[in-house]
């Protein structure tokens, strides 16, 4: 075993990269759930975003059209879910599961010609002074632009939900859709928009995986990241900062355990592989268990079918 092979600076630097796909998907799903909709199709939307983004980036030779295409693909797939659950009033759990299976199959189909292809590189942040700092530079200031984009998104979602009137209406719809309807808010329209936002975020998260983190296309490459994102939202008690903390914790431990595996630590690989899941769950359970009886947790209308009675 050789722990000195682990470079703490590199470890911290790769933490942010590793966490970003989950963070993107989770923050999107959080908005969806805040509007009272449970979309279990995150995994399917992520992988569809991953391949669509990859394909468009390769064809166009630039990562930006790819990222845009990934967001569009995720939102498009979520639109199917929105139509089924909000218009045809189908069961959200079953529809979400079907969406995941559909996304996995669809992405495999689209991805056939792209296996083994190398995508165009995406630009990294390069600020003359900050990026050249000895330790902080590589950890904080030399990442891909999308990493900072995801952080900005968390701040934006937090401010939107907390301070804006539209955010208040979105929370109200998730809290009591009947009352929101009685006050004249368009419950279905608001939920459509939230679901599409969640789809776009999941798609971006998938594209981050295939274009930036890995970067290449392999079938089923999201490997459960969408499910982790879903779990994070619950364990984070639907709070944006806890979603960020959970995602970074999960990303950090994933990177650490990979490094430990490489260093030949005398613990079975299986335990190391499961450690990110266990630690993330334990920490978030601890946080949410501290404040008992808080009524601010799950949106009260989460997963319930809304049907206007008149």
């Amino acid at each position: 075993m050789d722990l000195s092979a682990i470079d703490p600076v590199l470890l911290l630097a790769s933490l942010m990269i590793s966490a970003t796909p989950i963070l993107l998907a989770a923050i999107g799903e959080m908005v969806v759930e805040k509007a009272g909709v449970l979309n279990l199709g995150v995994e399917g939307m992520m992988i569809t975003g991953a391949i669509c983004g990859f394909a468009i980036a390769v064809e166009s030779g630039s990562p930006f059209p790819g990222l845009a295409a990934a967001a569009l693909a995720g939102a498009g797939l979520s639109l199917i879910f929105a139509f089924l659950t909000q218009v045809l009033l189908s069961n959200q759990v079953a529809t979400g599961l079907a969406l995941t299976l559909f996304g996995l199959g669809l992405s495999a189909l689209i991805g056939k010609p792209y296996a083994g292809v190398k995508p165009p590189p995406s630009p990294r942040l390069d600020i003359p002074f900050l990026s050249d700092m000895p330790v902080l530079g590589p950890i904080l200031f030399r990442h891909d632009l999308m990493v900072y984009g995801s952080l900005a998104l968390v701040v934006g979602v937090w401010a939107f939900l907390k301070y804006s009137r539209a955010g208040l209406i979105l929370r109200a719809v998730g809290e009591n859709h009947d009352a929101a309807h009685a006050l004249g808010y368009r419950v279905v329209r608001i939920r459509f928009l939230a679901i599409m936002f969640g789809g776009a975020c999941a798609g971006l998260g998938g594209a981050f995986l295939s274009l930036i983190r890995v970067p290449q296309w392999t079938e089923g490459m999201t490997a459960g990241a969408g499910w982790i994102a879903l779990a994070l939202v619950v364990f984070a008690s639907w709070r944006p900062w806890r979603v960020l903390l959970g995602a970074y914790l999960f990303g950090g431990i994933t990177v650490l355990q990979l490094n430990l595996q490489a260093a030949g630590l005398a613990i079975p690989v299986e335990y190391l592989s499961m450690s990110p899941y266990i630690v993330t769950i334990l920490v978030l359970v601890y946080i949410s268990a501290r404040k008992r009886g808080s009524s601010l947790d799950a949106p009260a209308s989460l997963g319930r079918v809304f049907h206007a009675t008149h």
């Binding site: 208040l168 209406i169 004249g184 008149h310």
Partner: protein, 525 residues
């Protein structure tokens, strides 16, 4: 009411809102058929009608939630056709909903902002909430989470939300159904103040004595049509009820008043509170004879639910505390007690007395399985169960398309008739009911009371737990009061005065309870 208007010096002859020939049909039912009425500034106008008479549809059209099929509305003499609640709010129409349209996880200020068209910024809004709520005697803390508020405080949130928009017309749908008598007084003071300021109030309530006390005029709806317009002060509660129902209401009469042998004895029944918010029962004693109706009065939360649970067998006690026909049944569960002839109908219709998403047949099976022999070889006998449900529906005039309908789909009054009928049809020796007519319209309440009396007339013993003292006085042979888990010694109900009942209920609660509750329809001597 005209006097009120001229007193204000507002000589506007045109009404504030005029509704003309308004119609709305849903598949299979005409909810409103040529409805007309008008309301002036500073007028409190009552909308009366039984459940399903079309009151809710009418106010939803005025508030822009439902669009009429025909007819028109004039607001200030100008055609008014709101496409959405925000149109209505902009036009000066505000509404307080029957089932509060509040968001429990949000705070007071957020809830109020959601019901306004252009809410001011947070800080200014909080300031305005404090000012307005203090000015109308409805103090509110804008930062409190609504989920922590009492029913009365929640209604304040709704009212203050309306007041902040200076409405010309305030619609109130059953505002007092969840309030304590004291809270009703506060509400009426606020409404009178608003009337004095020239706000028109459209008031929907089942409680006819409230209408007589508060309203200047009334429009009575029956089956979606206007059947009368009147000044409620010139009529008795019974006359108003008869106009609503369209038939003469006969106060329940009982066939005989002779009692048989003692069938139920409760002695030394004590029970600790089941939950943090429950009430403990202390040394409950009572004796019930065949053919006797014992009325148990008291303000909500004094142990009514716990007493029902102890008698029905949901919570068991020492065997000797409850004796049915001499047999110790204190330790038996509900099914065993049912088999022996002690049946119960709890207060909460949806969720306690009936399973909301199950059909009426299934609900009939749930309590009737043993006594009606609905189980054969360990399997459900569906044809007998359906037959039992049909007999209840027929015998108790439950208005429903059929026994396959889920319990949730029935209106409150119809489901209550079903729940009571289900027990009565099983020929109990002893029947215990809690709040048999809560939230039920006058005709259905009368039918339920008559069924209870008929059952007692046929020789069963009945315990009626109710907060409606008028109801208890009407049907009870003896009366006892439940106060903080203590039951007073039952006394003959005949000749008991309101003052005596007040004292039995524990002095302080007495006066308000006697005056504040009551269906009213049958209260007239």
């Amino acid at each position: 009411m005209k006097g009120m208007v001229t007193m204000q010096g507002q000589v506007t002859e045109a009404p504030l809102l005029a509704v003309e020939e308004l119609s709305k049909a849903y598949p299979g039912v005409v909810a409103n058929d040529g409805v007309f009425f008008s309301i002036a500034r500073g007028e409190v106008h009552a909308l009366l009608g039984e459940n399903g008479a079309g009151k809710s549809t009418l106010v939803k059209m005025i508030y822009g939630l439902v669009h009429p099929d025909g007819g028109r509305m004039l607001l200030d003499g100008v055609p008014y056709a709101p496409q959405s609640p925000s149109d209505a709010r902009r036009a000066g129409v505000a509404m307080v909903f029957q089932h509060f349209s509040l968001f429990e996880a949000l705070n007071v200020a957020e809830n109020i902002a959601l019901g306004m068209e252009d809410p001011p910024p947070r800080g200014a809004l909080s300031q305005r909430i404090r000012e307005v709520s203090a000015a109308y005697g409805l103090p509110l803390d804008p930062e409190r989470i609504v989920g922590e508020l009492s029913a009365g405080e929640r209604q304040r949130v709704e009212i203050v939300r309306c007041l902040l928009q200076d409405p010309k017309l305030l619609i109130m749908d059953e505002p007092t159904s969840v309030l304590t008598p004291q809270e009703v007084e506060i509400l009426f003071t606020t409404l009178r103040k608003l009337r004095h300021e020239g706000t028109a109030i459209l008031y929907i309530s089942h409680k006819l004595d409230e209408i007589i006390e508060l309203c200047d005029s009334a429009t009575i709806l029956r089956h979606g049509k206007v059947v009368a317009t009147c000044n409620p002060r010139e009529h008795s509660a019974r006359e108003l009820a008869e106009m609503m129902v369209g038939e003469i209401l006969i106060p329940p009469r009982r066939a005989r008043r002779t009692f048989g042998e003692v069938v139920l004895e409760v002695g030394g029944l004590s029970l600790p509170a089941a939950t943090q918010f429950g009430t403990a029962l202390h040394d409950i004693r009572l004796v019930l004879r065949a053919g006797e109706v014992l009325g148990i009065g008291g303000v909500a939360g004094n142990g009514q639910d716990e007493l029902l649970a102890a008698l029905s067998g949901e919570r068991t006690t020492a065997p000797g505390t409850i004796r049915l026909g001499g047999r110790e049944i204190g330790a038996l569960g509900p099914a065993a007690r049912r088999a022996l002839g002690l049946l119960a109908a709890p207060e909460e219709r949806l969720g306690h007395a009936a399973a909301p998403d199950m059909s009426l047949t299934e609900n009939a099976f749930l309590t009737g399985a043993v006594r009606e022999r609905l189980v054969r070889h360990g399997l459900i006998d569906w044809s007998r169960s359906r037959d039992f449900a049909c007999r209840i529906i027929e015998g108790f005039d439950v208005r429903t398309p059929g026994p396959e309908v889920p319990a949730r789909a029935l209106s409150g009054g119809n489901l209550q008739k079903f729940v009571i009928g289900r027990e009565v049809m099983q020929h109990p020796e002893v029947l215990v009911v809690n709040q048999p007519t809560w939230g039920v319209d006058a005709a259905a309440a009368g039918a339920i009371r008559q069924a209870i009396l008929d059952l007692a007339g046929a020789g069963a013993a009945v315990i009626v737990i109710s907060q409606d003292l008028d109801e208890l006085m009407e049907i009870s042979d003896s009366f006892a009061a439940l106060n903080e888990g203590h039951l007073s010694t039952p006394r003959p109900a005949e000749g008991l005065s309101v003052e005596e009942i007040g004292l039995m209920l524990g002095g302080v609660h007495g006066g308000t309870t006697a005056g504040g509750t009551g269906e009213g329809a049958h209260a007239d001597p």
